[in-house]
Structures are given as C-alpha cells and as structure tokens.
Amino acid sequence: MNEQLQLDFDKIVKTLKISENEIRSKKIFLKKFIDNGFPNRKQENWKFLDISQIIKKKIIDLSFFYDYSLPNKIDPTIFVDGLEHNKIIFINGRIEKIDFSYEDKNQIEINDEIGKNFILNYENSLIDLNNAFTNKVFKILVKKNYSLKKPLIIYHSTNDKIKSKNINLSLNFELEENSSMRLIDYFIDNTDTSFVNILYNFNLKRYSILKNYKLDKFRNNNLKYSFNNIEQDDNSISETFIMSAGSDYFKNELNCNLNGEYSSAFINGVFSLKENQQHEIRSTINHLVENTKSYQLIKSVLGKNSKSVYQGRIFVNSKAQKTDGYQLSKAILLDETSEFNAKPELEIYADDVKCSHGSASGSLNEDSIFYLMSRGLSYQQSKELLINGFLLDVVEKITDPEIKNLIKSIIGLKE
C-alpha cells in the first residue's frame, strides 16, 4: 500500500497549484501516515471497531488519487426541499460551489487556506492522512455580532466517477464574538466502497453559538470518518446532533475543549442500524476551567448483524471546579446478532464537580408490546411505535424548531 500512497501523492501534488513549502509540509504528514498506517485495534480508541481491518475487507485496491482539477456536474435534485438555505457542495471531495446568497456578504469571509494547514496535534493517523491529501482548505469566518439568517447545508455527495477511492476534505470555521451559525452536514452517496475522511475545526469566540447537525440517513456502502475539533471561549455554546444510519461504516469523533468559563457543549446522537452496519461515536469533552457544562445523550436501535459503539470521555482538569458533566447511552437490541459496546469514561481531577454517566442496553420491553397489542395494534406496529418513541426523545433535544421539523420529516418520525 505504501508505494501506492507515494505514487498517488505525487500525482495529486502535480494537479494542485501549491508552493514548495506547502508540499514539504504535506510530505511530513504523508510520512507520518506511512509510518503508522491506518489505526487498528491495538490502539485503545479503535479497540471496538478496527478500521484497518474494515477497509481491508470492504475496499479492494483502495486508491488515494482523484483528479481534483476536473469539475463535476451538480445534480440539483439532491437539494433539501422546504427550507431556504446556504450551500457548500462537495462532490467526490471537490468543492463545487459555495453559496451564501441569503447572507450579508460583508459579514462572512471565505479564504482558501491550503497553505496554512490547521494542524491538530493528535495521535491520529487519519488526521495525518487528511492533512497530506486534502486539495483545499477553506476558512469560513463569521464576523462579530452576525448571525446567519439561514442555515448552511454542506452537501457531501459522490457520483459514479469514483470507486474504491479515499477522499479527504477539511474545513475551518471561526465564529467571532456573539455570532451564530446553524450547520447541517448532509450525506448523499451515489457510489459505493469509498472511504471519506472529513476534518472540521471550529473556533468559537465569546458568546458565539454553533449548532451542527450531521445527517447520514440514506443507505450506502461507503465508509466514513469524521473528526470535529471544537475550541470554545467563555459563554459559547456548541450543540451537535448526529444521525448515524446510512453508511456501512461511520465513525464520528468529537473533541471539545471548553477553554472559557460558562461555556457548554451538547452532544446528541442516534444510531439506527441494519444489516452489517458498524457505527461509532467517540466524544472527548475537556473541561478545562470553572463553571463549564456538558451533556450527552446517545441512543441506538440495532437490527440484524449491526454493531454500534459509544465511547464517551469526560475529562475534568483540577482547575475546573463546579463542572457539570452528564452522559447517557441507551441501546435496544432487536436481533440476536446485534451488538452494543460502550465505554463511558470519567477522568476527574477536581472535587467540587457533578459528573455522572449511565448506560443501559437490552431488548424491547415485552410488557409494553403486550400493552399496545391489547389496545389493538399489531406486533409490528407496537414495535415501531416503541422504537420511534425511543428515538424521538433524542430528536426532541434539538433546540432549533425549524431544523427539528426538517430532521423529523427526513427520518420519517411523527409525533
């Protein structure tokens, strides 16, 4: 694989118009990735789902080259109906369009920052891979006191030009003081067996609000990895919702540093998995100063041969007194072949804190099914009603009513 990597890397560099300096920095990341390879189960973080094995099994002849110089045709049928929105469209990992037509142009800055790789210092070879191969890094800056009028939808789509490719993309966001943004990641795939590697960095200044909704709903055979790094100043709020249901493999990783007092982070996630799907959410919340808050709720419904993993970690620094941290993960196993794994972790060095976690897993309650059936519902209907109720609980946590309704209609949940 290493030769392939080197060849593909050289080809990509040729198509990109970047300086010697940039190439040199990319080469360092490539070397790091070649040294470490894809993460495997020997690393604690990848213990439950081993991506190097999954890639080996599902993708034959993985290639890292894609010619980013050729534009792709945008298919307007993929756009979300019934909601006015700004757009960023990725097709096969190439940015095709950035459209902020609903917003005040002076309040948003968009810069190509390929030269300034925002370097995240984590021991994570997928981030190295991303830094080595990304073709563009845009920085989107929302200026002071400006709130985006309409949500921004980022379309992640693929077309039939690619197969067995690795696609890397990354974006960098900065929300200045007292600004806010609603961001939806919308995944629509028309091809299969590619590996998509997404890296986002968010910088939230004082009093800013970020709401990020990741919707992976439509069934496809791609493998996806997404890493969100969120830096939060005082009184900032981040809210992340993850709908993890479409891809064969999807790992969402979130790292949230609460650097300022009274900042808070919310993570809500839903897994709804069927045949052979393997999904994971891993969150790390670092409470670094006093009076910070985090809340996490993750629910899974697992069908035949599916597997979901939740690894949540709350870290409380010794300075971070008055921390409030909460984690809850629940799973319903529908079939004898489904599997749920959890590792809710607390690492606490301050004493005046309130931290707790809970985890429960099991089958659907037979008594509840009996109750509903005695009221005239069929077995199947009762089951669906109970599952919908179970998942709706998480969707109800979404604070934005417009988007809550959109998500409800997308996933077909009724109240």
Partner: protein, 480 residues
C-alpha cells in the same frame, strides 16, 4: 525529636509497620531456571510441579510487562529480587504450634491473628503466610471432621496432588498475562481449600499475608475449590513492614465453584502504602479470578482496599454455568500519593447468568484512583443481566477519580445497566454533623462509612468492624 520518638511517630501512622528479626533462608537473587529449580527442590515438589513452573517460566520469557494501566511505576528489575524467602526454623516443619519460633508467634500476636488454639473462641480457622511460606494452620481437627481440606499450598501438593493437578491453572492458565505467569513460575506458598460435596463450612476460613524480609517479592497462590452444593466463606488480610524501597506482591487466586456451590471471598488489604511523600510501599499486582463452573453456582468478591502504594487488580468472575451468579463489592480508598487501578470483570457465558457490581472509590490527598471494569455478555448468554454502580468521592483538588467501564452486549435478550457518579462530600451533610458536636474528621468518617455501607454490609462481622476502623484511619489528615 530523637530517632526513637520519630519511630514511634511513624508507627502511629501504620501500626503494622514493624519488622521481625528472624533468620531467613533466601534463594539466590534473580530469576532463572536454576532459581525455579531451587524453589521446587527446597519444597521437595514432585516432578510435574517443576514442569508446571518451567513451562510458565518459558512462557514468561516471551511476554512483555503490560503498560496500559493508569498509575505508572518505575521499571522493576526482576533480576534484583529474591524469589524465595522463608523463616529458617521452617526448614524442618514444626509438628505443632509449640515448636514454632517464639519470635514468629509474637509477630502474629502483634498483628492480632489468633494463631493459638485459643482462637477457637473466635471460631476462625487461620492459615498464616509469612513472607512466602505458610507458617501454621489452626483448627485442623474441627475442619478434618467435615472432610474439609484447609492447608498450605505446599502441603496440598504433597498430600492431595490429584486435586492440585486437576485445578491448578485451570482458571488462570500459565499462558495468562505477565504477572500471573510470573507467579505460576515462582510462587512459593499460599492456601489451599477444598470443600467436599454438600458441606457447608462451619466457620470462616482466613489467611493473613505478611511480607517481612526486604527485597523479596511475595508470590503466593491460593486455590479454593467448592464441590457440588458446598459453601465457604474465606477471608484474606494483608500487612507489611515499612520500608523505603517498593516491594512487589504478585499473587494469584483461583476460585472454582461447581454445581450449586457458593464461594464468598473477602479481602481487607492493608499493605504498607508508603509514607506521606509517596516513598516506599507495596506494589500490589494481584490476579484474582473465579470460575462459576457448575449450574446455579455463585462467587462473590468483597474487598476493602486501603493499603499499597499501587493497587492494580481486577477480581473477576467467569459465569460459565447456567444460572450462575457473580458479585463484586469493593471499597477502595487512596490517600497521600497512593494510586489504584482496580475493578472487576464479569464474563457471561452461560444462560440466565446474573452479575452485580458495587464499587465505591474514595480519593484524598495527592492520590489517583481508577475504576476499570468489563461486563461482557456473550451471544449465547440468554436472559442474562448485569447491574453496575460505581461511585467516587473526591476530597480536595489534588487528587483524581476516574471511571473506565467497558460494556459489551452481544445478546439481545440480556440487559445491562450501568450508573456512575462522582462528587464530593456535601457541605450540608458536614455542617449537620458538626452542628451535633462531631469534629470535622469524625464527621467525614461518619459520612464516608455511610457512603460505603452497601459494601461493608457484605463483610463478615469481625471483618466489618476492622474495615470500618480502617476506613477512618486511612482518611486521617485528609480533611481541612
């Protein structure tokens, strides 16, 4: 303050911190096949036992010391340890207690172990392990009447080779992790218990471990077999003298419960934790594992951990028999510079198996405590359930409390519930107690004892009182 006063001052902190000057026989320093042969030879072991040890040793050479635990420690030089140390007078084993070295008996008196037959009043049968050798077992007569075998491991190897051969290494195989394999290669003694079919052991069985000589590691091995329909409650207590260097304690404990049998294993662990600056103390790297082999069997672990510089152990249950039950109750207290990484593993293999985990961690001073646990429900373990509760209490902002549970559910008819909280002692509770005339330390003691109540209740009477006192002592000086 002159040195004598200082010594007395020291003793106040850790009352078991005396050493006894008894001549020791030691094996040559270091770890190699000759040392293992020396140990086997001096214990007059049969050939199969030596084979067992050598097999473990060969395996050990391939293994690496694990390094994933939270508390890190300086590298141990395994070639710089004595692997066998026995009181000299043990060479010709005394026939009765009267022939024991009087100094040794005095040591046990200081420890408060009722070695003499007067112990009958207490109704506890005791096997005492001094450094690595089992010294005396009391109450033999009464136990023999019921057909119960309670003796030292070396004696069992001589007298009951068929049982030892069958069960030794059946729960912790020689191919296990580094420390367990090290123990299999060099273990010197320990306790052996066999409860015959249908017998309810009429008294609590008890072992006291003590490390006396310096630069020795203690590697004892305990094997408890409860045959069909039997019951036994077993207590283990540990102390060590105060020394500046760190001492290694790597024991193996294997429990086997056959059909309808029940084993209750309680530990009050009070090894020397090191002084308040974190110097010295015991490294307690123990492997404890129970196998519920038969249907309807039950194994219950109860532990009170207050000592050791570093505690690193996970008493586990393998629930293999249908309808078997595993329980784990634990209090772990760390103060000053102590570190603990402890918890349990519940592995559900049989149908209708149940497990319960109650873990209470208290950290104070500069200490660091981690609960690490695994609940694994296999796809064949239908209708199984697990309940886990782990609570941590923090005193001061220099210490840490961590919870790392691993939860794996592969069976859709099984339920797992897990809860954990971390908090500090509430100001209101403290205020309430102090208003009623308790000083702050007493108030904390009272609240902590309340916090630990669920676990303390599981201990046998005599131990519960001792444990309650220990909880108080361990936290002295952590308030204010």
């Amino acid at each position: 303050m002159d040195t004598r006063e200082k010594d007395i001052e020291k003793l106040k902190d850790y009352k078991y911190g005396f050493t006894t000057d008894i001549e020791n026989i030691k094996s040559p320093k270091g770890l190699n096949e000759d040392v293992i042969k020396f140990i086997s030879n001096i214990k007059k072991e049969p050939k199969w036992m030596l084979e067992f040890r050598l097999k473990a040793y060969r395996r050990l050479k391939l293994l690496k010391e694990p390094n994933w635990q939270k508390p890190k420690y300086p590298k141990i030089d395994y070639q710089d340890l004595y692997y066998y140390s026995a009181p000299k007078s043990m060479k010709d084993k005394p026939k009765s207690l009267d022939e024991l070295d009087p100094k040794l008996l005095e040591t046990y008196k200081k420890l408060g172990i009722p070695l003499q037959e007067q112990a009958r009043l207490n109704g506890i049968a005791v096997d005492a392990v001094f450094d690595s050798v089992s010294v005396a077992t009391t109450f033999k007569g009464e136990l023999t009447k019921h057909g119960i075998i309670f003796c030292s491991m070396s004696e069992a190897i001589q007298k009951h080779p068929e049982l030892v051969k069958k069960y030794l290494g059946s729960v912790i195989p020689v191919t296990d992790h580094f420390f367990a394999t090290l123990n299999s290669a060099v273990f010197t003694d320990g306790s052996f218990v066999y409860i015959p079919e249908g017998v309810k052991c009429p008294m609590e069985l008890s072992t006291y471990f003590r490390i006396n000589a310096s630069e020795t590691g203690q590697f004892e091995r305990t094997l408890i077999i409860a045959d069909k329909g039997s019951y036994v409650s077993y207590l283990e207590g540990c102390t060590a003298p105060m020394r500046d260097e760190n001492q290694l304690h790597a024991a193996n404990v294997e429990l086997i419960a056959l059909d309808d049998a029940e084993i209750k294993y309680s530990t009050v662990q009070n090894w020397y934790p090191g002084d308040e600056n974190g110097k010295g103390g015991i490294y307690n790297f123990v492997t404890k594992r129970g196998l519920c082999k038969g249907t309807n069997s039950k194994i219950s672990w109860t532990q009170v951990e207050t000592g050791s510089a570093i505690t690193w152990k996970y008493p586990s249950c393998i629930l293999k028999g249908d309808n078997s039950i595993g329980e784990f109750y634990s209090i772990a207290i760390t103060n000053n510079h102590q570190k603990a990484d402890t918890g349990t593993k519940m592995i559900h293999l049989g149908k209708n198996t149940k497990s319960k985990i109650i873990s209470k961690g208290i950290s104070a001073g500069f200490s660091d405590m981690t609960y690490r646990g695994l609940v694994d429900i296999n796809s064949k373990a239908k209708n199984s359930s697990n309940y886990t509760q782990c609570d941590s209490l923090l005193m001061g902002n220099k210490c840490g409390a961590h919870t790392v549970p691993y939860i794996k559910n592969k069976n859709f008819e099984s339920n797992i519930a897990h809860e954990a909280t971390t908090s500090k002692i509430s100001e209101e509770q403290l205020h309430y107690c102090q208003q009623r005339g308790l000083n702050p330390e007493e108030a904390v003691g009272l609240i902590v004892n309340g916090f630990c109540k669920e676990v303390l209740q599981q201990l046998p009477m005599e131990f519960a009182v001792e444990a309650q006192k220990l909880v108080g002592i361990s936290l002295e000086g952590s308030v204010g």
